[in-house]
Symmetry: C2
Subunit: 379 residues, 2 copies
């Protein structure tokens, strides 16, 4: 029996039951017909959709309706919004929603507003300072740029740097949110600091700031990991009261940590970072990646392994083997016992290292594009 679990934007506990989470958060499952509609709209699907890595949404049908209303090469009827609270190095778990967001940007030719709430972790974690977040802000931006987002259509919004655009809008949101509302949504209490209480108002802002700046109401789609949903649930409640659309959203599950359950997290020292060397990766996978294999070679060959709980297989499924046929073959071979745990690990190490080699190369050249991505403050 699965133990009790809890998911908030700052803390994940226990074994996550995503079906229960859908009901608890009130999001909609991504149905086969909706997946088909997305595929029909842009001419292809994405492996994260087909594999249920993105598994839930709010108002995705509406986004496709709006998108369908405009025709032509400059077609853009909604913008994307996602983000990253800088407080440590980027690990491969962070890449899941971003890789999918890049696909959405490419396929829908959409503007992307990428928020870097550099105050969030300062407010939420006792030992994190603005010096820490300033350091990681830049490092994290380089990772995002390295993923290949379109510099002409991607706008980095840094909370403290762009507060002259954001704070006023956040106050409008904040006026509509009471303490008892955030208490329930985020597990805050009377001993919580007043910055952490206010913060969700800042996270709401990128969902409508582009409409304010362009003076044209534009729908917003937020691809994000499911733990951020409490913020956007609140945002959806408030924005219509301010004359804006409710943002749509699409949620992914968490890339598991090496040890095997929950969410990959820097703070637990079980992560593979984008800057890891091939040796780091090999060592981490070989030493720590939880295996779904049997205890002995004989038993494994006879009874087969369990890819569903095997972390190496999960990393291939989430990120590093986009080819469904190849992944299926690995799944079957591992399950049948034909593929051994050591071979699966070796294969995963190679795939991750090939990905990271390319990523690190692009990351090296990313700094020159920083200014193109950061929103000009005199906009």
């Amino acid at each position: 029996m699965k133990e009790e679990f809890s998911v908030t934007p700052w803390d994940i506990k226990g074994d996550i039951d995503y079906d229960k989470l859908i009901k608890k958060f009130g999001v909609e499952p991504l149905t086969p017909s909706l997946l088909k509609r997305i595929e029909k709209t842009v001419g292809e699907s994405h492996f994260m959709l087909r594999r249920g890595i993105f598994f839930a949404h709010r108002d995705m049908e509406w986004i496709l309706d709006e998108y369908g209303k405009v025709k032509g090469p400059q077609q853009e009827k909604f913008f994307l919004y996602t983000g990253r609270a800088p407080s440590g190095p980027v690990h491969i778990g962070h890449l899941v929603p971003w890789v999918f967001t890049k696909w959405l940007q490419d396929k829908f030719n959409a503007e992307l507003w990428f928020q870097f709430p550099d105050e969030e972790k300062v407010l939420m974690k006792q030992d994190i300072t603005f010096e820490d977040t300033a350091k990681y802000l830049k490092e994290n931006m380089l990772d995002v740029i390295a993923l290949g987002f379109n510099p002409k259509k991607t706008h980095f919004l840094i909370d403290t740097k762009h507060a002259n655009l954001m704070y006023k809008e956040a106050c409008k949101v904040a006026k509509k949110i009471t303490f008892s509302m955030v208490k329930a949504s985020f597990g805050l209490n009377e001993q919580s600091n007043i910055g952490s209480i206010f913060y969700t108002a800042m996270q709401a802002v990128p969902a409508f700031l582009p409409s304010i700046l362009s003076k044209r109401e534009t729908p917003c789609l937020i691809p994000h990991a499911i733990d951020q949903d409490p913020h956007f649930r609140l945002t959806r409640d408030i924005l219509p009261k301010l004359g804006h659309y409710k943002p749509a959203s699409i949620q992914c599950s968490f890339l598991p940590p090496l040890q095997g359950r929950g969410k990959m997290s820097s703070s637990e020292g079980t992560a593979i970072y984008t800057t890891d060397s091939p040796e780091d990766v090999a060592k981490k996978i070989n030493k720590y990646a939880f295996s779904g294999g049997k205890d002995t070679l004989e038993e494994h060959r006879k009874k087969g392994g369990n890819p569903d709980i095997d972390i190496s297989f999960q990393y291939l499924r989430y990120l590093f083997e986009p080819d469904d046929k190849k992944l299926e073959k690995i799944y079957k071979d591992y399950k049948s016992g034909k593929l051994l745990s050591g071979d699966l690990k070796k294969m995963t190490i190679e795939k991750i290292n090939a990905f990271l080699k390319d990523h690190q190369e692009k990351r090296k050249h990313a700094e020159q594009f920083l200014n193109a991505f950061i929103l000009e403050t005199n906009d």
Copy 2:
């Protein structure tokens, strides 16, 4: 017997007992020896000090100590900070701390940071919007400029406009303040909006932002009306934890409204505005100013009036008759019955109108100096 009273930054109830307030808020009374020291330091006194209109302080001795450490014509060892939350037109009650602040600036050759928290009233009052505060922001700035502050040494800080300088610093303050702390200080509760809960952190910022921008820790003196003390009490608790000085402060009582008790307030329609015509002023004083005179002319001549509760006399005392000897003569003549209520009102109307004529003339030309006063955002 005086009824119960309460004073918070957003609400004044009942008959204020300033002696009780000194104890309740924990401020220090301005003693004769401290007043003498101020006079000795700058070579003159100010009528608002002599008359007890400014009546309390925190750490004023320390400010004078710091000031005494530096010699020479460029002497400046502390800066001043005061403010105005725009939400309506400026009335003569607002002028009390500002007139004194100008005197402090002149006498101590001090920099002044003048905060316009244009979000405060939006967050605190249901029916006030940013459209309202934007309109009054400019109007209010013209009044401040018209009072003759030194444009080279005065810096207007507008919360939403300068949030790129302020929000990050406010977060540092906010991290040290819990909900239960602001609950007690400001009478907030679980139904309060999260912007109002956060707000006090923004009001703390000008007390140390100049030190951050100049990279030199500089003491701060805040002249303000006593109702703002809960903010600065919190500010004083927090700032040492961030490596800054506790700001010193000096508090004034409230100019009473025409009807006679509490605090002049636009929201009650009992105020004299800086833009009032001579006829407006005459009508308001004649019709509404609570009189300390007797019911009949005979009785007044015989028993005399009570200047202590007479609103016209109070306006002279607070603002419009800086000459102590003249004020004393009026006091005595009114008390003896020699001066009639009608004559006192007439005299007060003339004094207010002379002041406002000059103020309105300066206000007319103030707009050209706006940009010199507003802090450059790329500082």
